[in-house]
């Protein structure tokens, strides 16, 4: 039964952890094998589900349209890029009003800057407008999943925890603290500083 390709789960991670997931890998030599980004809390992510505030959209393409969206969560900023191969998502970024809550299903992608830094971005499969209830639920759910990964983080027993330890020098406690801060931000209804950083 393992021969039937099963749909990849959409992982939940806050922007700060997502942006730290710069190491990508495949698990087989097949060129169609799924590409995974390694989350520093010790999980592989081929797909993610993100809900946040779309702050800004911009066509950064040269000849053809290539839209960039900045989506902010309580810990930081997700960057998403959509061009001619993601026509629906590109159309959404062209038309959406900012700021506004959006849900994005997408795949992590990495690229290297001229300075040699690895940036992680989101290649969208879909972008839809949602409400604040959905966004708040995502924050709690993402904190819950993050805490579960940290609790299960054991390089002795988990392949991906071992990989994270080898590839990154990123203590998992950081992500716990961010999850706590994200949850606390729901209580007072304020967004902590998004700590936006330029994409290029």
């Amino acid at each position: 039964m393992s021969s039937i390709p099963t749909r990849e789960v959409a992982r939940r991670a806050f922007a700060r952890e997502f942006n730290d997931a710069g190491y990508t890998f495949k698990e087989s030599d097949d060129e169609r094998a799924p590409l995974y980004a390694l989350l520093p809390t010790g999980e592989r992510a081929n797909r993610v589900f993100v809900v946040g505030t779309l702050m800004e959209t911009e066509d950064v393409g040269d000849e053809s349209e290539y839209w960039r969206g900045r989506i902010v969560d309580p810990t930081g900023t997700f960057f998403t890029y959509a061009g001619q191969y993601q026509p629906e998502a590109a159309a959404a970024l062209r038309e959406l009003e900012t700021p506004g809550f959006v849900a994005i299903v997408g795949k992590p992608r990495t690229y290297e800057t001229d300075e040699g830094d690895v940036r992680v971005s989101l290649r969208p499969e879909s972008i839809t407008v949602v409400d604040q209830a959905t966004r708040d639920r995502w924050v709690v759910e993402t904190a819950e999943r993050t805490v579960e990964r940290i609790e299960a983080f054991d390089p002795e027993t988990s392949e991906y925890a071992a990989m994270a330890e080898e590839q990154y020098d990123l203590p998992v406690e950081t992500y716990r603290d961010q999850a706590i801060a994200a949850l606390e931000s729901l209580d007072d209804g304020e967004m902590p500083d998004a700590g936006a950083e330029p994409a290029d």
Partner: protein, 311 residues
């Protein structure tokens, strides 16, 4: 290797009455298959059992589960082929056998739901009564296209129980974000031939060719909670409840746009990326949505906060 040792001991127990074999011989055979021929342990076990069945001139259903005793399981826990298990069940339903080889066929139920069972004429077992509860020892699980059933066999023990085993509702409940709406959703046309009802692709039915289809609404969606994905099917009624778009309205939308795709696009905007709880029976890998609830109440962060602070 500990695993192979266990398999070897169990196989040895199954054949110890019929064949003069030792656990070590069985283990040798298993190891050859696993180490030299790189066969998975389960497959190796199957192959070794087949060899011994031939040697002993036995049928697979004469095979006992071994003296080690089987796991007592709930019918809803059965998720593997060819496992020997014990059940405590009520006969929830008896059907008309379609084959002369079958003596009884129907549904067995316990608190976890129901499962199909089959008993064969050759096994020569006492008849089960509908509505009665039994302890069944040594039944074997079977799988067909992802659906599980159990087979009674001549080694099955049947003990009538004084108490009633309660049969649970086998509806499952799934929660998560709706992360995808698959092809073949929205306003579709179905084949009108007999009870075919296949969804047409470009006006063609896979079975009946070009036909004049009948409009229907449905959504094949994917719910994802960050750990697992579940495919959910919404029928016309459930789709309308979910999206607020009725069949007549959908047909009008499609006629105005000269394109049925506008319907699913409109639906997508209204539901994709939201959280839902869906309840309904499972059918293969799908959950059929009987009840759908949008999860948009304020969420309580407190429990997660306590958990986060405790690690």
């Amino acid at each position: 290797m500990a695993d192979l040792q266990r398999h070897a001991a169990e196989i040895h127990d199954q054949f110890s009455d019929q064949l003069d074999i030792t656990v070590e011989e069985v283990q040798d055979r298993l190891e050859t298959l696993v180490d030299e021929y790189k066969v998975p342990a389960d497959e190796a076990r199957r192959s070794v059992v087949s060899t011994y069945l031939d040697e002993a001139g036995m049928d697979r259903d004469q095979l006992g589960g071994g003296s080690g005793g089987n796991a007592s399981v709930l019918v809803g826990e059965i998720d593997e082929d060819e496992q020997w298990v014990d059940l405590r069940v009520q006969v929830a339903d008896l059907w008309e056998p379609r084959s002369d080889a079958v003596s009884q066929v129907g549904l067995l139920g316990d608190e976890s739901g129901t499962i199909k069972f089959v008993a064969f004429e050759t096994s020569d077992l006492p008849e089960l009564e509908e509505g009665a509860s039994y302890a069944l020892g040594n039944v074997v699980t079977d799988e067909y296209e992802g659906n599980y059933s159990v087979k009674l066999n001549r080694t099955t023990s049947i003990t009538a129980l004084d108490e009633d085993v309660e049969v649970g509702d086998d509806a499952t409940e799934v929660e998560g974000a709706l992360v995808d709406i698959q092809d073949g959703s929205g306003l579709v046309k179905r084949c009108p031939e007999g009870d075919c009802t296949r969804v047409l692709q470009n006006g063609r039915c896979n079975e009946h060719g070009e036909v004049d289809g009948e409009y229907d609404l449905r959504i094949k969606g994917v719910l994802d909670d960050g750990e697992s994905v579940t495919e959910v099917i919404f029928d016309e009624e459930a789709t309308t409840e979910l999206t607020g778009i009725g069949l007549d309205e959908a047909i009008d939308m499609a006629k105005d746009a000269l394109d049925t795709e506008v319907v699913v696009e409109e639906m997508r905007e209204g539901i994709l990326g939201r959280y839902y709880r869906v309840r309904g029976p499972t059918f293969g890998r799908y959950v059929l949505a009987d009840e759908t609830e949008r999860l948009d109440d304020p969420v309580d962060a407190e429990a997660t906060l306590i958990k986060a602070r405790s690690i």
